[in-house]
Amino acid sequence: MRFWQLFTRSLKETYRDPLALGFLLAFPLMFMLLFGAAFGGDTAPSFTIGIIDNDQTEVSQGFVTDVLGEEIETIETTNFDDTDTALEELKLGNISAYIVLPDGFGGQVLQIRQGEEGNIALNITFDESDLFVSEQVISIINAATREFARIEIPITINANPINIETDISQIDFIAPGIIIFGLLIMIPTSGRIMLRDKENRFLNRMLTTPTKPWEFIAGYSLSMVVLAIAQILIFILLGWLFGMDIVGSILLAFLIFLLTAICSIGIGMVVASLSKSENQGESLSWLFSMPLAILSGVWFSSEFMPSYMRTFADLFPFSHAVEASRAVITRGVGMEAISGDFFFLVGWAAGIFIIGTILFSRTMRS
């Protein structure tokens, strides 16, 4: 179990170096805090939503005034008589979306509340290119409606029974990207111990023992995985404090984040294997981590980027991780809906570690 010894040693080197540990944890945390403060809680901007109430019952009016109007702070409502005027306003950008409450809405809700079968159809129209808003609107309305009717409704993108909370804010949309960013910037830090060992030649000393390349790689990366798990938990906790609401499975979200971290650590191992010093390794990885972060859509949606950029970003795990984690967190989708992205991450993680091990064994004896 040589890798286990190397792992515990790396772990000790990390947690007994408070400055380094502080940096490793504090740096990504700072981003999370900044974004949480900027987008979380009270300061979330409000969206104006148009309402066309074709039902005009007590129930539907209650839904509009109490739920959409009062309960959800981020939404303001305006009533319209017909869809044409609403569409006009949407095009002008005066409203972010409009909802049509169909005739019979109230009846259906009452029916469902009494435990009978029912079918509620909400018709939401929004500007498709306004991805940021559309994610918000859908998840907000979705959650609110379901709570109101105490069921799942057709506009649900996925039919998972979920925990409903009404104070959904922009943080839901932002948080997954920021968490992925926090995990992406493990690339520059995860090679740290290996590079320091290279620089002060402690690695050379260990290379005179019968330790195999994979054992070195496993030892170095496992200590970073521990750190990554701590980071993810802190991220999720902070996100929750800022009002992030994980609609889907928290375990699935955690797994996506963990896989992302493992990919970052793997890239870190590749870079560290190729570099001679800590400086060289860190500069090299910052140089491509930042552009990769932007291309992967962690800050802003990558929808508007030229397709060649998106294709390029899609070669790396992070855009997939952003998509998948956003889907789980804001829309509550399950494994079926994100399996493509999920297994892409799994494959990528395996591949990058194989490459890292090969490179390490090539460069360890020059």
Binding site: M1, R9, E13, R16, R201, R205, T209, P210, R365
Partner: protein, 320 residues
């Protein structure tokens, strides 16, 4: 998981512990090690003596499978460094030239790490570590993170890490570099105790160290072995000229001229006359000086030292 090193029992017992054949390393166009051929017997303590940049560390790095030779090869206990590096790594212990430790671990943990990487059983390892720390005088500070230790302590621990797993073959690259005389003595004592039991290849640029410790010395210069032999052999073989030092008053030009005619080389400075030649007649010289009215205060024949041998062989002073 204990990996026992097994070698076929039919192997003759007299294979050399270390054998190099035309071992060569180039860094770009710089020839760091230039076709070294060497045989070190089991249980022998062999010292590489040479100035900085001679190629000592590069040779050790190749033998401990850290560097690939540019050409040529070597075997350690019959295993080829190019073909069976992991077999070799199981039986060697290396103390690198630089003191390298895991800085945030304590002494005990550093020793344990190397021990575990060599698959030593925990019980044995614990006992050996305790013993080793005692030997190296580190017991008091065993639980301190090593970054807090003094340079000398770190150095001793670094050497201990090469020995903790009880390896058959030991490479010590400048083991006493930077140690104070007292600590140096302690390390020498310890190394002497290992003599005969282990095969040790040690590099040094301290004459005294090679002289005291080594069974055989290889003088290495510019990547080549310039001379090889025991300390006595090296001195005897290379120093054909003998030297006599006379401290005297009233040296006259006349007697100097007289001696100059008889002996190859005479130097005078501050009343000290140094004569050297292949043959020196002590009595003849003293008699002649007396006859010339010179007062001889002292006179002696200087024994050749390893340093003289080294100077003669390489044409370089070996100063630290």
């Amino acid at each position: 998981m204990v990996t026992k090193v097994t070698r076929s029992s039919v192997e003759p017992n007299d294979i050399p512990a270390i054998q190099t054949s035309n071992l060569t390393k180039l860094f770009g166009s710089l020839v760091a090690v230039d076709g070294i051929n060497l045989e070190i017997k089991k249980g022998e303590l062999f010292a590489f003596l040479g100035p900085n940049g001679a190629g000592k560390t590069t040779t050790i790095s190749m033998l401990s499978c850290l560097l690939k030779p540019t050409s040529g090869t070597a075997t350690i206990m019959g295993y080829d460094i190019n073909k069976e590096p992991y077999k070799i790594k199981q039986i060697i212990g290396v103390s690198p030239q630089e003191t390298t430790l895991s800085e945030h671990l304590n002494s005990m943990e550093n020793l344990a790490l190397v021990g575990y990487l060599h698959s030593i059983e925990p019980n044995k390892l614990k006992a050996w570590s305790k013993l080793m720390l005692e030997t190296m005088g580190l017991t008091d500070r065993a639980k301190d993170q090593v970054r807090k230790l003094s340079g000398g302590m770190k150095r001793r621990l670094s050497i201990a890490m090469a020995l903790i797993h009880n390896p058959q073959i030991i490479f010590l690259d400048e083991p006493t570099l930077g140690l104070d005389p007292q600590a140096r003595r302690a390390v020498w004592d310890y190394i002497s105790r290992l003599k005969g039991d282990k095969t040790i290849l040690l590099t040094t640029h301290y004459m005294e160290e090679a002289d005291i410790l080594a069974d055989r010395i290889g003088i290495i210069d510019e990547g080549r072995i310039a001379a090889l032999g025991t300390s006595l052999e090296l001195k005897a073989d290379t120093i054909e000229t003998h030297t006599m030092v006379v401290y005297a008053w009233n040296l006259t030009q006349k007697v100097i001229m007289e001696l100059r005619n008889r002996y190859e080389k005479i130097e005078i400075s501050n009343g000290t006359m140094t004569l050297s030649d292949k043959k020196l007649d002590f009595k003849d010289i003293i008699d002649r000086l007396h006859a010339a009215g010179t007062v001889v205060r002292s006179a002696y024949i200087k024994e050749p030292t390893l340093e003289d041998a080294f100077l003669k062989i390489t044409g370089k002073e070996l100063r630290t």
